[in-house]
């Protein structure tokens, strides 16, 4: 119960401020509430189908494919698979950490794990739909076109910088 309350704390604080604002400056209070309500309506209208798609992608795209094809020596194929599977995943970046960790432990190369995390964070398909909706098609596509090479570059740079460092106590890749 206390935990629930804490989650809604920001909302409650804002509502109280809204009420105070409305009491002292009715115009501004009304404008704060109406613009928030507009946004909320808009989000509630199209978030349900997006989450249904997120759920479907999550259950149908097997993560095992990644584990099989992202080991050392995996080149372009490893990159592509890391990206494709991460774009289909559900959840925020910190939900991707354990998955990338599991990949590393199974012998995935560092570059692909970083690419996987970067893609997970920035270019998931349902998110892209939101971005198109709110920021416009050219903004979303341009950001995608710039982010993708940045993510891949980061992966390979990080692998280079970290070479020689012990990797997440990786066991020998016996099940590859």
């Amino acid at each position: 119960m206390k935990n629930q309350l804490k989650k809604y704390l920001l909302f409650l604080v804002v509502v109280i401020v809204d009420v105070l604002l409305w009491y002292y400056y009715p115009d501004r209070g009304v404008s704060a509430v109406t613009s928030a309500a507009d946004y909320l309506m808009e989000m509630l209208l199209f978030i349900p189908p997006i989450f249904v798609l997120v759920g479907l992608l999550d259950v149908w795209v097997p993560r095992r494919i990644v584990e099989k094809h992202v080991g050392p020596g995996s080149g372009i194929k490893g990159i592509i698979i890391s990206i494709l599977v991460a774009t289909a995943a559900a959840g925020p970046l910190y939900a991707g950490f354990p998955v990338a960790y599991a990949l590393l432990k199974k012998g995935c190369r560092v570059a692909n794990a970083v690419i996987f995390l970067g893609t997970w964070a920035t270019i998931k398909i349902p998110m892209l739909m939101m971005e198109i909706k709110f920021m416009g098609l050219s903004f979303a596509l341009l950001r995608l076109a710039l982010t993708l090479p940045a993510v891949i570059l980061t992966g390979y740079l990080l692998e280079k910088f970290l070479a020689g460092q012990p990797q997440a106590d990786a066991p020998p890749a016996e099940n590859l």
């Binding site: 209070g29 997120v54 990338a100 964070a121 939101m130 980061t154």
Partner: protein
Amino acid sequence: MFNAALFILAAVALFFSWRRDREKTGKALQIAKKQFFNLLPSMLGIISLIGLMLALVPREVIAGFFGNDSPLGILVIAIIGSITLIPAFIGFPLGASLIAAGASVTAVACFLTTVLMVGVVTAPVEIELFGKRFTILRNAAGLVAALAIGIIMGAILQ
């Protein structure tokens, strides 16, 4: 229009998934429900905060600070984006409202990219799993990439 297409897409996908495998489809719906209710509190909080911000902060202030691509303004918004833990589902409407209030494309692109790629709040978890060097390098690279992406986007789109 966009919403209608989205509903149809989700319905069709759900239909085929249901025909292939009922159990998996049920699990997918469970995931959808869980994500929705996880998001609800922060969604309500941040959306009401956006409304308050739009009502209280005059357009000129946002446009003045984040609208003229001053290096300081961009750095500030990139740092805000790195620190705050906003789900992407809320980041995009927030970005749209900033643009509507007069912020520049560069500033908003930097903000959104750091929100997505750089996680100061989640760094402890990342360090625990991947080590300090990995975490610092990955987040630093994300910040640099975000600034570069924002500047290029601003140059092309404005």
